[in-house]
């Protein structure tokens, strides 16, 4: 009897989901801007990735593939990009994408007629954008940057749209329906998507649930079908009754040490701390083993550029750490502070483990929890901190990832500065041959490790929980949720 009831309930569940063809995804935060050229937050891109497309788009392997452009070519010297548009690509308002829309979009980023552009990179690197005919667009660079191709994933939007913020229109597999601040963002299937096989579901709701516990409850109750970015502890709570997917996610979790603050300006101190931290222990305790050990600021998922073998450059050793500390004039260690954003339990847990490990070599680290807003302001922007733990989300381009350490880069919150490093990064983006470029980027990673620029901890695995009858989830080495390939069965 009980079994029959159970089967009936399951059947009912299956039928209702089949009929509704609707997916609810739990997300942590609101979008910052719906206008794709103004949006900066990865939390926004995660959702709007389904609404907007560029000339190119990212694929799950971490490269770019043609989207609105059908094909592209790069000139030998790397200065000229030529895109041929796919014919018949339509915007969500039904109009066909024309070269004028492409020119409008790219010029909006670059800035034209004395107006400032919305993208610093397009402003800095692009000199000329022009239409050759009604299917071909040429983009000429002013400064060589061989990693610029990835920039063309930026959204192409219709010139005719008067308000990109209130009424976002793109060419992606889903069309924007509504956004209620603090509540939800809803998108629906775009019938005229250029790839007729996609998308497979009718509607997707991104439900904004900032509280982790509440998100898990909603998932358990069947209100939410996709619960991305679980940590290992939460995954354990869910157990194997659910469909859990795990993968490397191209994130670099690190402990930054402020190079402009004593005693972290001393390389011996930074090396001592690197020796004091036992990454394997951190991964075991904090991530239940679901993490990949790192040695520099690059995840192994970026296989072309990843420099292998740096993970064990500083083997965990209290003796070595103590010796280095004495050499630097701190035989009894010192007092310091690890500032951690309070909304990231994962980083807090990491800080606690590391603080214990540092205690073994005599460094007394106090953990200071700050609000995310305070972290962004005080640590990330004003750089007033001693040590901090954070995860840097992945980018497609190695240059984007590594230029954080270039001395004059605005977001170099490490206060790292090294002439040789700057030179190598500058050189790397002028190389058109992939292998030549990759070897320079690998060299850059070595410099970071040798200099003990930070403590590179791990790439925490991406864990997503899916409703049992939901299939086709694609994992990207980027902060996105691709809804187009999902289907119920």
């Amino acid at each position: 009897m009980r079994r029959i009831v159970l089967i009936l309930i399951l059947l009912l569940f299956a039928v209702t989901t089949l009929l509704s063809q609707r997916i609810v995804v739990a997300v942590m935060q609101d979008p910052d801007f719906l206008d794709p050229h103004r949006a900066a937050a990865s939390g926004t891109y995660e959702m709007m990735f389904n609404v907007f497309e560029g000339l190119l788009k990212p694929d799950p392997n971490g490269t770019v593939i043609p989207a609105i452009a059908e094909s592209y070519s790069v000139s030998e010297d790397g200065m000229l990009y030529t895109f041929t548009l796919r014919s018949g690509v339509k915007f969500h308002d039904g109009s066909v994408v024309t070269v004028d829309d492409v020119l409008y979009s790219l010029n909006r980023l670059k800035g034209s007629n004395g107006e400032r552009g919305l993208s610093s990179d397009f402003e800095k690197f692009v000199s000329k954008i022009e239409a050759v005919d009604d299917k071909t667009v040429k983009v000429e660079l002013s400064t060589l940057n061989t990693d610029f191709l990835e920039k063309f994933i930026v959204a192409i939007i219709p010139e005719s749209n008067e308000n990109h913020e209130k009424n976002p229109v793109g060419t992606g597999p889903f069309r924007f329906v509504e956004y209620r601040p603090g509540q939800r963002l809803v998108i629906e299937r775009f019938e005229e998507y250029w790839n007729p096989e996609l998308p497979k579901v009718e509607e997707v709701e991104f439900r904004i649930i900032p509280d982790n516990q509440a998100a898990i409850m909603s998932f358990l109750a069947g209100e939410v079908q996709i619960l991305p970015r679980l940590d290992a502890i939460q995954a354990m709570v869910l157990g194997d009754r659910y469909n859990l997917l795990t993968a490397e996610q191209n994130m670099v979790q690190l402990m930054a040490m402020n190079h402009a603050v004593e005693p972290f300006d001393d390389i011996r101190i930074r090396r001592a701390i690197n020796h004091a931290v036992d990454k394997e222990e951190v991964i075991e305790i904090v991530a239940d083993g679901y993490g990949t050990k790192l040695g520099s600021n690059m995840s192994p998922i970026m296989s072309t550029y990843y420099r292998e073998g740096l993970e064990d450059y500083y083997e965990p050793s209290a003796e070595k750490a103590k010796a280095l500390l004495s050499e630097a004039g701190y035989p009894d260690g010192f007092d310091t502070k690890i500032t951690v954003p309070s909304n990231y339990q994962f980083h807090i847990d990491t800080a606690q483990v590391i603080a214990e490990q540092l205690k073994r070599v005599g460094i007394r680290a106090e953990i200071e929890l700050v609000e995310w807003s305070v972290w962004l302001d005080r640590v990330y922007t004003a750089r007033e901190y001693e040590m901090t733990i954070i995860g840097l989300t992945g980018k497609l381009s190695a240059y984007e990832i590594l230029r954080r350490y270039v001395s004059d880069y605005p977001r170099n919150f490490f206060n790292y500065s090294d002439v040789e490093y700057d030179r190598i990064i500058g050189l790397a983006i002028e190389k058109t041959a992939v292998e030549e470029k990759a070897s320079l980027f690998r060299k850059a990673q070595e410099i970071l490790t040798e200099d003990a620029a930070a403590v590179y901890i791990m790439d925490p695995n991406f864990i997503v929980a899916l409703a049992p009858n939901l299939h086709g989830y694609t994992i990207y080495p980027l902060y996105v949720q691709d809804m187009s390939t999902l289907y119920y069965r």
């Binding site: 603090g182 509280d211 302001d377």
Partner: protein, 316 residues
């Protein structure tokens, strides 16, 4: 009438002071609305454009005068986080929080007062002791915790309600009721417990009075003495406590809305503070002050209804 004007003026001053304190606090604490909106990956150009748009680079006196002007023209301004008028955001969220508060209040009155009467009547005997015990426990359990337990039992094990799935009243009244009843219970629980105790103590106090002895010796039975004579007199302090509870419910809903992911005013307030959205916070402060004034006003009226001896003039 004059009494009301005086009260109103005092209220206005209080609100003004609170608003000024919020403004100053936001000047002092670290955090920048443009930074927290854009996050870690913002390019310089994006940050600069937004900071300029929000007027963050303007000197203090300009921002202060802009703020004062908004205050006196009744314009709550535009939210820095959402780029939507503050009033629109608050009005959108208001129905959820108000329904939650009303439902909780009804539960408190309908369950708390009768149980309090029963508890007073049986005093030291078993039902009285039981109710006292339960209300002790009820007061000790924080509402966010009972909220989680309620979700677990009714949402996940029994699947009677769906946590995190709020439907507006206009769309589906039964669905809305279903999504609000658990949080309302969670908010009401500790208050039910305290209203039981207040009712009990207040009735016990009244029972010591001579008029009770007179009524009893006149031959009236205990029940009718309790309900017709004692309760009326005992209600005055209970109403006062209910007024305080009503204000507390608003505070309680801030936490409970987080637990149940309800799109109410409480969650909006948390959001506004964490993203340093000053106009939105100011708008919410005004809203909360307004609600408190309204509640106090109604309580004053209820007093005079229950006990005609209470004249507003005396209370002024």
């Amino acid at each position: 009438m004059f009494v009301y004007l005086k009260k109103l003026f005092a209220m206005f001053l209080t609100v003004l002071l609170v608003l000024l304190i919020t403004f100053v606090t936001f000047e002092i604490i670290p955090g920048n609305p443009a930074l927290s909106r854009l996050g870690v990956d913002a390019q310089e150009s994006q940050y600069e454009a937004l900071a300029a748009e929000l007027g963050l680079n303007d000197p203090l006196e300009i921002r202060l005068s802009r703020w004062l002007k908004g205050l006196f023209t009744g314009d709550l301004g535009i939210s820095m986080r959402y780029s939507v008028p503050v009033s629109e955001l608050i009005l959108d969220r208001l129905p959820v929080t108000i329904s939650l508060a009303v439902m909780a209040l009804v539960l408190i009155v309908l369950i708390g007062i009768p149980l309090g009467i029963v508890s007073a009547k049986y005093g030291e005997r078993l039902p009285g002791i039981l109710i006292t015990l339960i209300s002790q426990i009820g007061m000790a359990i924080p509402s966010f915790w009972s909220g989680i337990i309620l979700i677990y039992i009714f949402g996940i094990v029994l699947r009677w309600v769906s946590p995190g799935g709020f439907v507006p009243w206009s769309q589906d009244a039964y669905g809305a009721f279903k999504s609000l009843i658990l949080p309302a219970v969670a908010i009401a629980l500790p208050s039910i417990a305290s209203i039981i105790r207040y009712t009990r103590n207040s009735i016990m106090d009244q029972m010591k009075n001579d008029y009770v002895q007179l009524a009893l010796s006149k031959g009236l039975n205990l029940n009718s003495v309790l309900l017709r004579h004692v309760l009326k007199n005992a209600l005055i302090p209970i109403i006062t406590v209910l007024g305080m509870i009503a204000a507390n419910i608003l505070g309680g809903s801030i936490v409970i809305e987080q637990v149940f992911t309800l799109p109410g005013v409480g969650r909006l307030l948390i959001n506004a503070i964490t993203t340093r959205d000053l106009p939105l916070v100011q708008g919410m402060v005004l809203y909360i002050a307004f609600i408190i004034v309204v509640i106090n006003f109604f309580i004053d009226i209820i007093y005079t209804v229950i006990d005609p001896r209470i004249r507003l003039v005396q209370r002024g």
